[in-house]
């Protein structure tokens, strides 16, 4: 079974530029998550989708971050314009269902995209 795919693996940009990250979840997984992991910290949820609808985006800085999940499969996370404090690893994860016992909604993570904003 193919895992969660993300691209690019690394991205370096200047502040005020725009950047986009792509995520392809495990086939058949209804729920997709984007986490931000700042160096030395644990991941923090930015946004959660169920199919192509948003379940939770309470911690997404909506003035500069946006995300979409077209057709309930792939997802794109965009930052525009980027700030120095956006330097982090952006992790994508997916799970089979939104809610259920621990095993049914285990989250599987991709390799992440490391963003450096100069």
């Amino acid at each position: 079974e193919a895992g969660v795919a993300q691209s690019p693996r690394y991205k370096i940009i200047e502040k005020r530029q725009s950047v986009a990250f792509w995520c392809n979840p495990i086939s058949g997984h209804a729920t997709l998550y984007w986490y931000q992991q700042i160096l030395g910290q644990g991941p923090k949820l930015l946004i959660q989708f169920q199919n192509n609808g948003v379940v939770d985006d309470s911690q997404l800085p909506k003035d500069r971050f946006s995300a979409e999940r077209l057709k309930g499969v792939d997802s794109t996370l965009k930052i525009q314009p980027a700030k120095l404090e956006d330097s982090a690893v952006y992790l994508c994860a997916s799970s089979l269902v939104v809610f259920g016992g621990a095993r049914e909604n285990e989250q599987f993570f991709g390799p992440g995209t490391r963003l450096t904003v100069l």
Binding site: Y33, V55, D56, E106
Partner: protein, 117 residues
């Protein structure tokens, strides 16, 4: 809001020895799930072990076991017979069992495990 605290930034262990990582959490909920994730330098988070709060029995997965103390809100991870491949960052995570909370994971700050040959 729930919080997860890992008080040990780094732990060192000799190969084949045992190391225990600490995790405490704060919640007012009675039903929830707790997890330990491993993050090697490749950055991919890998689930190590899970614990359902309603279960009194501590979870075990091969060389990994937990000590779940619900009243104390403590959830430690023991790695037995440590191997070089165990070297990584380890994150403790909490997930509510309340449907309205969705499936969000709340992570601690992580503990780096170093394994000495």
């Amino acid at each position: 809001a729930q919080t997860v605290t890992q008080s040990q930034p780094e732990m060192s262990v000799q190969e084949a020895e045992t190391v225990t990582l600490s995790c405490t959490y704060d919640t007012s909920e009675s039903d929830y799930y707790l997890f330990w994730y491993k993050q090697p330098p490749s950055r991919q988070m890998i689930l190590v072990i899970r614990q359902e709060a309603y279960k009194q029995q501590n979870a075990t997965e091969n060389r990994f076991s937990v000590n779940f103390q619900k009243a104390a809100k403590s959830f430690s991870l023991k790695i037995s017979d440590s191997q070089l491949g165990d070297a990584a960052m380890y994150f403790c995570a909490y997930r509510s069992a309340i449907k309205a909370a969705g499936n969000k994971l709340t992570f601690g700050g992580g503990t780096r495990v170093l394994v000495k040959p």
